[in-house]
Symmetry: C2
């Protein structure tokens, strides 16, 4: 009985989100072992005895993306006895928001970004975990402008609005969005303009890493056009 209790295994799995090619993407690895061999999965690994859960998650994140100091949050712990077909593995899921320009991902047949809107079949309960991370990201976006964690350091307001629209899965009104966003603490207007566009260049903005004022916590509401 006592032994029975002790044979859980515990892992961390990380939903790594970024914006790439105008779409929300998640980093997936192709499993090269059973179970679910050759299926895609979110990156993960066993928690070592010497590290806490955050550290384990950061380690896995760094292994896969070589990024540190980014938005990483514990998401939920999934512990269904049948989630792993062979042994009892409880996983503490995290999610990370990163800038694609910060990432050094050597994509290959076994490690690649996938649009969250076009996910391949996934191992374990990883589909559920990704969906939950999207829900949580939406909740965070209602509280504070975490979207800037997904954007490059310098971004246009149109890029930011597109990020919001992708995460919230609805269209926002341009004027209301801009009115709202410019009141956000930390957003700083630059005297630089985008160059890539073939038409009128857009002003670039950046986020200073300021603690966000709780008064402005509710950022984009669910039922509005922004």
């Amino acid at each position: 009985m006592f032994n029975e209790i002790k044979t859980h295994e515990i892992t961390v799995d990380i939903v790594i989100l970024t914006i790439k090619n105008d779409a929300l993407n998640v980093l997936l690895v192709k499993r090269n072992n059973e179970p679910f061999k050759n299926k895609w999965a979110i990156p993960g690994g066993y928690v070592r005895m010497s590290e806490n859960l955050d550290e384990a998650a950061m380690r896995v994140l760094k292994e896969k993306t070589n990024v540190e100091n980014i938005y990483l949050e514990q998401l939920y712990t999934f512990g269904d006895p049948l989630r792993h077909p062979v042994s009892r593995v409880i996983t503490c899921a995290y999610f990370a928001l990163i800038r694609s320009e910060d990432v050094e991902v050597v994509t290959s047949d076994d490690l690649a970004w996938h649009r969250v809107s076009e996910l391949p079949p996934l191992a374990f309960d990883h589909k559920e975990i990704i969906e939950y991370s999207l829900k949580r990201t939406r909740e965070r976006l209602e509280m504070c402008p975490v979207a800037y964690q997904l954007l490059n350091e310098k971004f246009t307001l149109t890029e930011m609005q597109k990020a919001y629209e992708m995460i919230m899965e609805k269209k926002l009104d341009k004027r209301n969005f801009r009115k709202k966003v410019i009141t956000t603490e930390g957003l700083r207007e630059l005297n630089e303009f985008s160059k890539s566009s073939s038409k009128r260049p857009a002003r670039l903005y950046t986020f200073d890493n300021i603690k966000l004022n709780s008064k402005r916590a509710h950022f984009i509401k669910k039922g509005s056009k922004g």
Copy 2:
């Protein structure tokens, strides 16, 4: 190495909150084993191989309080290597909101309600877990009227307001609170009145268990008087 990874133990610990004697109370058990022998702790237990985390939490809850079908939510997973002084125990913390009238707790020297404002020294990181559960309860209260989970089936608006004030840790305006609360879906006015008071009896209300309209999600904001 592989064996090293596998020797985590995983438990669930549950912050059980109720309102009792006009105060927010948490159910604590006195430990009769080392470590932390004779210290108070929140109820918990090992996760069995056959049950998922919710089931483990519900089992522990039922063992201690004999209640079922109440508000139970996964809170956070705590996995610091040093949180348990002897072995590596990762705990998935839950919190429950219950009605004191529903509970059959045989309080004793080893099992008792404690005001959250007057907690005794606690085992492990349980103080941190309780504090986090209070923070989460506040967040939930901003989203929906979960406070009714803590109140008896029939309650007065004054009782409800007191519950809010305890959880939000601030005074609310009586008129604004009532205006707000009566727009809540599910709240039903009864043709019954409180009897205990020695002065003017107050009308009783109850909550019908309706799915709450997301339009009315934001319930009591942080920075207001209600």
